[in-house]
């Protein structure tokens, strides 16, 4: 299963029997048509504003396939979602934990500890062994309030990204994480990768029947989908950061693959395609699950974590955030 990305603004996605047709406008004004069997597609991601016919939209929903809309910058705009889980009791359990300080703190600690663990693993693999992340991770356990845990998370994030200038290589300047807008190419890649990850986690949260707007680590405010942001934490380093470092190391993306306008950086079209392919490769990569010991793709792992969180909320089994060696 894979994700169908349509990134050309004047493309047209239509339906033909049991397949999707993607019509792409060529520079000479003609149309190039491609057919994609619907059964091989799990989700559709549209960037810019390509057209989708009513037939194609309805067919996708009938097959249980969400269609996600992203701006041409990769910002998540929203989704057309099939009628997934109708599990109202799960939402009630989700709200209940929100107002249970002890249970909530426990869960947040689990998530943050796994996040820092995964960040440490990225550094370790890139020979950045001299860093305090291990201590930060063990410090998480003894914290008494959510804000204290968040404080350690922020500290660890700063220390983690402080190692990045050495890891990204000499032709890139990176002075720390920034966004809205990303002011250097590496930050622009990170933002793009987090946007793509967010699409996947959003879909998983909906599939599992969780309320995307009630989370525990992230505050419920400004309309942020705090449940989605919570679940993203354990995957940021594992998926998004790894993909960024990998395309930089393999020189799949070069400094001249970016457009700069008023200090904001953005990927050019061809490079965007390269990056999407790298991201999809990562999503379909298999690893041995540390808890259940079966082979598992990152794509499945995201849905599994969302569902396991659901089981935790509804059945009280312990939640184990994904932490890879």
């Amino acid at each position: 299963m894979s994700v169908l990305y349509v990134t050309q603004a004047d493309a047209v996605l239509s339906k033909n029997y049991e397949a999707f047709n993607v019509a792409l406008k060529q520079s000479d004004g003609s149309w190039k048509k491609q057919t994609v069997a619907a059964q091989t597609v799990e989700q559709v991601v549209l960037m810019g504003n390509p057209q989708v016919t009513g037939d194609a939209l309805v067919y996708a929903l009938e097959l249980g396939m969400p269609i996600h809309y992203l701006s041409s910058f990769g910002k998540y705009l929203g989704s057309a979602l099939p009628g997934y889980s109708r599990n109202g009791q799960l939402r009630l359990a989700q709200y209940k934990l929100y107002s249970d300080p002890a249970g909530r703190l426990e869960l947040v600690k689990t998530i943050v500890a796994a996040k820092i663990h995964n960040q440490y693993q990225v550094l370790y693999r890139h020979n950045e062994r001299n860093n305090p992340l291990k201590e930060r991770k063990s410090l998480v356990k003894s914290q008494k309030t959510l804000d204290q845990v968040r404080g350690i998370e922020g500290l660890a994030a700063r220390e983690y990204f402080a190692c990045w200038p050495r890891m990204v290589g000499k032709q890139w300047t990176f002075t720390g994480r920034n966004r809205r807008p990303p002011t250097d190419p590496v930050n622009s890649l990170l933002s793009f990768a987090y946007g793509l990850l967010r699409v996947q986690v959003t879909a998983a949260v909906h599939v599992a029947g969780l309320d995307p707007y009630i989370g525990y680590l992230h505050e419920v405010h400004h309309g942020q989908p705090s449940m989605v942001l919570d679940l993203m934490e354990e995957f940021r380093a594992l998926i998004a950061d790894s993909v960024v470092l990998s395309v930089l190391h393999k020189h799949e993306i070069q400094p001249d693959d970016f457009n700069e306008s008023l200090g904001a950086y953005r990927l050019k079209d061809t490079a965007r395609k390269t990056f999407l392919q790298a991201f999809e490769r990562k999503m379909n990569d298999e690893f041995k699950h540390p808890v259940f010991e079966y082979r598992c793709t990152y794509r499945r792992a995201i849905e599994l974590q969302a569902r396991l969180l659901g089981r935790h909320l509804q059945e009280g089994i312990s939640y184990k955030a994904l932490a890879l060696r």
Partner: protein, 199 residues
């Protein structure tokens, strides 16, 4: 009218697995797998409510049936009428065997028909698509009693908390809800929580 009546199809789920019943009926979860899609496919020719004559037999297809006494309702694939005798018929995808869940569903439909018509039914039939055989299911006092008991238990279970996963690997592996129920994962996480009460 029969909105809060237990649907007959969920009685089948109940006998298959109480947790599946809970996920489907109480929590509204559903998921397709190849078994479900194939089942839907074999029902494609009989999914219309209609009545027609075939030889000596009058066939009523896709009939609503319900019982006010048992608080169950649903649709029976067919009711065949010949010589004043009514025979309920269910279409199933699998192979002929003693599938108690199918028998309960059929028997519950028969109890509904008896309540509605005042006739007494002696047997029902299940058409198993895989080997294209009709199995005759006698509506014995024992089957009737077990069906009524299953209905009561299912209705009670619907008021309670979610049952734990069952211990039946074979059922779990072919269950369309396994990605939602997570039987193996939940059991493993449970046993790692309290190692001494390893269930």
């Amino acid at each position: 009218m029969t909105e809060d009546y237990l649907p007959l199809a969920y009685l089948n789920a109940w006998e298959y697995c109480p947790r599946r019943f809970y996920l489907e009926y109480v929590l509204g979860e559903m998921s397709d797998n190849e078994h479900i899609i194939l089942g839907r496919h074999i029902h494609r020719n009989i999914n219309e409510e209609t009545t027609f004559q075939e030889g000596e037999t009058l066939i009523h297809q896709q009939q609503w049936v319900w019982s006010d006494r048992l608080k169950v309702a649903g649709i029976i694939d067919a009711v065949e009428e010949s010589n004043g005798q009514l025979v309920p018929v269910e279409y199933k995808k699998g192979k002929m065997a003693q599938h108690l869940n199918d028998h309960f569903q059929l028997c519950a439909a028969a109890l509904c028909i008896e309540e509605r018509t005042g006739c007494s039914l002696a047997y029902g039939e299940i058409f198993y698509h895989t080997n294209r055989r009709r199995q005759t299911v006698a509506l014995t006092p024992q089957l009737r009693q077990m069906t009524e008991q299953a209905i009561t238990l299912a209705q009670l279970a619907a008021q309670r908390t979610m049952p734990a996963p069952i211990d039946n690997t074979k059922k779990c592996l072919s269950c369309s809800l396994k990605e939602i129920c997570l039987p193996f994962e939940v059991k493993q996480l449970r046993s790692s929580m309290n190692p001494e009460t390893d269930d």
